[in-house]
């Protein structure tokens, strides 16, 4: 996982304060060779930015202060110009991470991929069991391909992380999943959140874990981290709901210090918000980034504007997302049931194991 040097972390704070888009996620394509059941992207039949278009978009981001960039998809490696794009990003000073399903990485291209200068690779793996992963992606052989890619990238010296979505099918296997990551020599990151898709699809939400399942999941997680108990207890104290400090804190970095770019050049506040801010090729980026009405309204909000959360005991464990709230509840200041359930379960497990 990409770890930024301290001098850049300091710049992140400045970017947050002055609304500089220091971090971007660039969906290079919405095409994909897998059919993951939770995927939020709807596959449009629109013309993607050309290689020159992508490079122009990178130039605009660079001129506006973007330093870290995540290249994502769909599956970004389906673009035949991916190596040129990654090399250009390196040349123009971006710190790049590539999100990929790993299935298109093999012996023939792994060195070329590492040599593009990508700083970190994140590969999606949905289970430590081959059959379960392949059922989740709906493509047989995808587990072998993904874990094979992890091994090849690691052997080539790359920084690799595997990431997952914890859900009904894999939550009970946290221990063995973490063992798989350890065997592969990589970190496993994951979160138990499943979102409504871009076109409003919610069929996969039945994979969300119940509170009891989440307590079981987090119990496994905290059991493994018991040795860090003191440190975690101190962290918890700092994260408790404190109205006075939170009244000045923005809800999140969406359209504040980060943005999402889709394959057609449209710019959004983040990966989850569907509100288009403008087009990076056809519109004046600086103007719409500053002046877009939605962005201005969102930037004015503070954590304490989420009234339901004021003083909440679960706040330290909460990852409320205003974009998810907007999709699910029609109100970005109304936390979703999912976020509340996850936070409560995490708190319960934390108190049981760590406190």
């Amino acid at each position: 996982m990409l770890r930024l040097p301290d001098n850049i972390k300091r710049l992140y704070k400045k970017a947050q304060k002055h609304c500089v888009p220091i971090e971007a996620l660039f969906e290079l394509t919405h095409r994909c060779n897998l059919r993951c059941i939770h995927c939020y992207i709807d596959s449009e039949k629109k013309r993607e930015l050309s290689t020159n278009g992508v490079m122009r978009a990178l130039d605009v981001l660079s001129q506006n202060g973007t330093i870290t960039i995540i290249f994502s998809g769909g599956e970004a490696l389906l673009r035949p110009d991916i190596f040129d794009i990654l090399k250009y990003a390196k040349k123009t000073g971006f710190i790049s991470t590539l999100f990929t399903n790993g299935t298109l990485i093999d012996k023939s291209n792994v060195k070329r991929l590492i040599d593009t200068g990508v700083a970190a690779f994140e590969i999606s793996v949905y289970s430590d069991i081959e059959k379960d992963h392949d059922e989740f992606t709906q493509v047989k052989g995808s587990f072998q391909a993904a874990t094979g890619a992890v091994k090849l990238l690691k052997a080539g010296g790359a920084d690799v992380t595997i990431k997952t979505v914890w859900n009904k099918r894999n939550y009970h296997r946290a221990d063995s999943f973490l063992r798989l990551a350890s065997d592969l020599g990589v970190e496993l990151r994951g979160a138990p959140y499943l979102s409504v898709t871009n076109d409003g699809g919610a069929g996969h939400l039945n994979l969300r874990c119940s509170k009891e399942e989440l307590v079981q999941f987090y119990t496994q997680v905290y059991e493994r981290r018991k040795d860090r108990g003191n440190e975690m207890r101190k962290e918890l104290e700092k994260k408790k709901y404190d109205y006075d400090s939170l009244k000045d804190k923005r809800i999140c970095g969406a359209c504040v210090m980060k943005l999402k770019l889709d394959p057609y050049g449209d710019v959004y506040p983040c990966v989850a918000f569907g509100e288009k801010l403008g087009n990076i090729i056809h519109d004046d980026f600086t103007a719409f980034w500053r002046e877009n009405e939605f962005a201005k309204k969102f930037r004015a909000l503070r954590v304490t504007d989420i009234k339901k959360c004021v003083g909440c005991d679960d706040y330290a464990f909460c990852r409320t997302c205003p974009a998810d709230s907007l999709r699910e509840c029609g109100d970005m200041l109304a936390p979703t049931d999912e976020k509340c359930i996850v936070a409560k379960a995490q708190r319960e497990a934390f108190y049981k194991i760590i406190l």
């Binding site: 300091r10 973007t66 040349k91 000073g93």
Partner: protein, 97 residues
């Protein structure tokens, strides 16, 4: 440090940089290093375009900072020399067109 005041200074082509509000961060692709410049360093860097001599840059900085001309000349020269060593800037006897 030799006297570089009459030399012209330019940014090396292959470096990349960003301006975050009033601070410049320079990336050197060969070693993937990120160099953040302080406020005065960022001001100096922003004035480097291959067409100005170090002396001309000192004159611009002198107008904005409360220090003697000698002190500014010494500090600017030191800063530029350090970035030359880091392969971020280069010096020449004539302006770069």
């Amino acid at each position: 440090m030799s006297n570089i005041l009459n030399k012209y200074v330019s940014k090396i082509d292959k470096i990349a940089y960003r301006t975050i509000v009033d601070e410049v961060v320079v990336m050197t692709p060969d070693d993937s290093m990120l160099h953040t410049l302080n406020s005065i360093g960022s001001d100096i860097f922003s004035n480097i375009n291959g067409k100005k001599s170090v002396k001309e840059i000192c004159d611009i900085i002198y107008k904005d900072y409360d220090a003697t001309e000698e002190k500014i000349a010494k500090d600017v020269s030191k800063f530029i020399s350090e970035l030359v060593k880091k392969n971020i800037l280069s010096l020449s006897y004539a302006p770069v067109t």
